[in-house]
Structures are given as C-alpha cells and as structure tokens.
Amino acid sequence: MRAVEVDCVEHVYPDGTRALCGARLEVEEGESVAILGPNGSGKTTLILHLNGTLLPHEGEVRIFGESVSKKNLDWVRKTVGVVFQNSDDQLFMPTVFEDVAFGPLNVKPRKEALREAESAMEELGIMELRDRVPHFLSGGQKRLVAIAGVIAMKPKILVLDEPTIGLDSEARDKIIWVLSQLKKRYKLTLIFSTFDVEIVPLLADKVVVLKNGSVIYQGDVRRALTDTKLLREARLDQPPYVKLAEELGLNEKPLTLKEASALFSKIIKKE
C-alpha cells in the first residue's frame, strides 16, 4: 500500500518565499526514503507537510490514501511521527521520562501510556536518562529522547528532519543503528532528510532529491549517489568510497565500508 503521496504540492510562506513548487513524491508502506537537497531546497517544508503541520496552498498530501486536511489532523499526527531538527524544540518537559510519556498520556489511559513510554525508552537504550533534565543531555542523547517521544506514540510513518546533523561519530552511529532496528522490528515507513550522504545507503531504499522546491530525482539509491551531475546539482558531496573508486578509475562504485572492503579485497586477491 502507498503510505505517502505528495501530489503537486505548492507552499508559499507569508513573506512570499516559494518553498515547494509542484513537489511530487510517493512512498510505499515499509519503505525507507532519504530526502536530499541543498539548503533552502524545501526539505523541511516538505517534512512539515507530511504530518499536517503545514497544509499545502495547492496540491494534496495523502497518508494511506487519506488526504491531509484540518479535519483529520488528529489521525494524521498519530500516524505520522515527526522528529524535528532541533531537539530542544521537541523536548519541552522538565524530565526525560515526562517528555517521552507526554504523547501517550494525551491519547491513552495512564497505565498503558506509562508502560509504552518505558518500552520506547528501553527500545532505544535510554532508561538511564529517565530522570535527567533534557537541558543537560548531549546532542546525541537529546536526539534519542526525541525519537523515543515520537516512537512512544506508535506511528506507522516516522519522519526525521536531519537526524544526524551536529552529532559526533559515536552518536551518529547510534542513531543509524536505532533507526535500522526500528525499521526492522516495526516495519516502519521511514522518511528522513539529510546532507549526510554516508548514512543514505545504510538506511534508505530510495532517494528523493529536491531543488528549489521541486523533486528533480526520485529513485534508486545507487544511481543517485553515483550520479556526479545530480549530486553537484543538489550541492552534495559524493560518498567517500565512490570518490575513491572514481579516483582509482574503477567501474564498480562502493557506497558503504562493507562494499568497499569487499571490492578492494577482490582486487587485492586478483593481483
């Protein structure tokens, strides 16, 4: 079933900035999609349309076939969980546990809500942060708590705006691991925007490239990340292993460390 359909969506901000111009996008249930694009290409605006935070001026956003409108915002927000770019905007409660439990307590009986909050925290391995004040958490911990808060709502679609931005490599690896586990365990539909091309092959089944509010590419991850012209247009770097393979004049272009190590071992063995 199609989880998300963005059909010719246009959005103009009050200052006249045209953030989305006829954007089209389809995401199947259980699929993982990376939204790539330069600053100001409309990634965040597109993400805010997916759970009805912004409504399109023209066009339509459909979630599991239902058109997003003011009438069904409750259902849309329960179905689509969004993790915002700045965790401080999302962690508004005095302690971590209060924050994770916020969503479930709004929609479920108290006992069940608290159980779900605890299970979301266990899932992400952040139980030891339970009574901590969000203000004093590290960037990675804040991001994990923000994800736990959304996961506790049991959404069918998880949307993340720049999930690894500003994180050190350990925190980044943890986020990648957590997202891939969530995807596997709950068969979540995952949509994330990023500049970090290295995480795309680890998490995404499909890539969408935005430029000036329009989708200029939608399709295969490997094709997108090895297409120098497309990446240049989206002002993105090539993944490091692709760059290395190009420098060495190799035809095969590895996207991940695993692929690169397999390729180079093959070459070494041949020689």
């Binding site: 969004v82 905007d89 409660m93 959304v150």
Partner: protein, 247 residues
C-alpha cells in the same frame, strides 16, 4: 567585573539549581507541597512581623534549614545580591518620605529573608515536582505555562549568557554602547523565544496536546510530611502570637 562574570556569579544558573535540587538530605526528602507550605508560611510570617527581635529569628531559621539541606551558604549569599539590590533601591527612598531608618532596614532584611525561603524551596525541589505541584493548584493554562517556563527559562537564560560572552569576546565597548547592545540582545532573545514557542507548539500538537500537559512522577505525602507542615504552621502561629500578645 564584566557583565558575563557578574551574571555567572550573582544569578542562579541552571546547572547549579539542578544540581542542588536533586541532592539528598533530610530536607530534600520532604514532599514538595510541605516544602511549599513551609516556605510560604515563613515568608508570610516574616512579612507580618514588626518586632526587630522576632524578625532576627527568621534569617536564623532560614540559615539553619539551609544547613540541614546541605545548601552552600556562600552561593546562596551571592545569589541574594540581586533581591538585596532591588530591596535597597526601594528602602533608600523610605526615610525620605518619613519612614524611620530602622523600619527601612527591617524591610530590607524581610525582602532578603523572603528570597532565602524561596531559594530554599527551589534548591531542594526538582523542577518536575514543582511543575506537578503547580498543575494541582493553578488553572491548567497557568500550570502549563509554569511547566514550559521551567524548561525554557534556563535555556533562554543560557542563550543570553552566551550572547553576552560573545559580545564581550569582541572587545569591551563603553558603557553607553554596552547598554544599547544589551537592549539588542534582549530584543533578539525575545524574537528567538517567539519563534521557538511556535516550534514547540507544533511539536506539542503533533504529540496529541489538547490544552493540558499531562504529568507523571507522583510523590507520596507521608506522615513525616504532615508533621513537617503541622510544625511549620505551629511555628508561624507561635511567632504571630508572640508578636501580637507578648510584645
């Protein structure tokens, strides 16, 4: 002393408040409601008293409780400078309009002691307990404001400190310009706060917010809390009794 170091030294900072409020002591263990009753009753009694002798007992009480709560007196004294300066600004005017000097001095003492009792409450009670308490006594919109303020006040405060530090790191402008710059910092903080409020509201509504923030973390009101409340009220009544009937 630069503005940044003044703020750091003489105004409560988030890490310090958080650190002290989550420590363990005999006083910390009381229910937040009983600590609130104690602080409020002590403040009311302090304000009510007129006898210098009885008023002198109030700072001693505050200091004794602070010691039992293992609070650092030096830090509390530094933080008392701000309420002290506010009170001084008022009290220096009182003799000019005919108040005796002693009365002006006692008002100054009362103001600082009232601040100490509030410090005692805030530095021994985690924000989450205070927020829960607020949600019981206040209308939901006000309680929600308190919960959000408890999270974002310090964030904005830290942001202000960073901005002032950044300003100072780029030279030491003359006082007149400094005042203009501080006004700019305030304006910028207001705008940032406004934008953040919108983003937070979006985050809240997308997690099912319908006009009331639900809270967890229940505290248990035990017998010792009831005894503590009773003792606080009895002490207050004795002070008032001595003031009215004995002195």
């Amino acid at each position: 002393m630069s503005l940044a170091s003044f703020i750091e030294r003489y105004l409560p900072s988030t890490p310090m408040v958080e650190y002290f409020s989550t420590r363990r002591s005999f006083y910390h263990a009381f229910h937040s409601a009983s600590k609130l009753v104690f602080s409020l009753s002590m403040i009311l009694v302090t304000v009510y008293l007129k006898s210098a002798l009885l008023i002198a007992l109030m700072p001693l009480t505050a200091l004794l409780v602070m010691l039992s709560a293992r609070l650092p007196l030096r830090t509390v004294m530094s933080w008392s400078l701000t309420p002290f300066l506010f009170a001084v600004a008022l009290c220096v005017l009182l003799p000019l309009i005919g108040y005796p000097l002693l009365d002006a001095f006692l008002i100054l003492v009362k103001a600082v002691v009232a601040a100490w009792f509030m410090f005692l409450l805030v530095l021994t009670t985690p924000m989450t307990h205070l927020a829960r308490l607020a949600s019981k006594f206040l209308p939901s919109w006000l309680a929600d404001t308190f919960v959000l303020a408890s999270r974002y006040f310090f964030l904005i405060f830290d942001e202000a400190q960073r901005m002032v530090k950044a300003m100072n790191s780029r030279g030491n402008p003359p006082l007149k310009r400094k005042v203009t710059l501080v006004a700019n910092v305030m304006a910028s903080l207001f705008l940032k706060g406004y934008e953040r409020a919108e983003r937070v509201y979006v985050a809240m509504t997308s997690r099912g917010y319908r006009g009331k923030i639900p809270l967890t973390s229940p505290e248990r009101f035990r017998l010792r809390d009831a005894l503590f409340v009773a003792t606080s009220l009895a002490f207050s009544l004795v002070m008032v009794y001595v003031e009215v009937l004995v002195i």
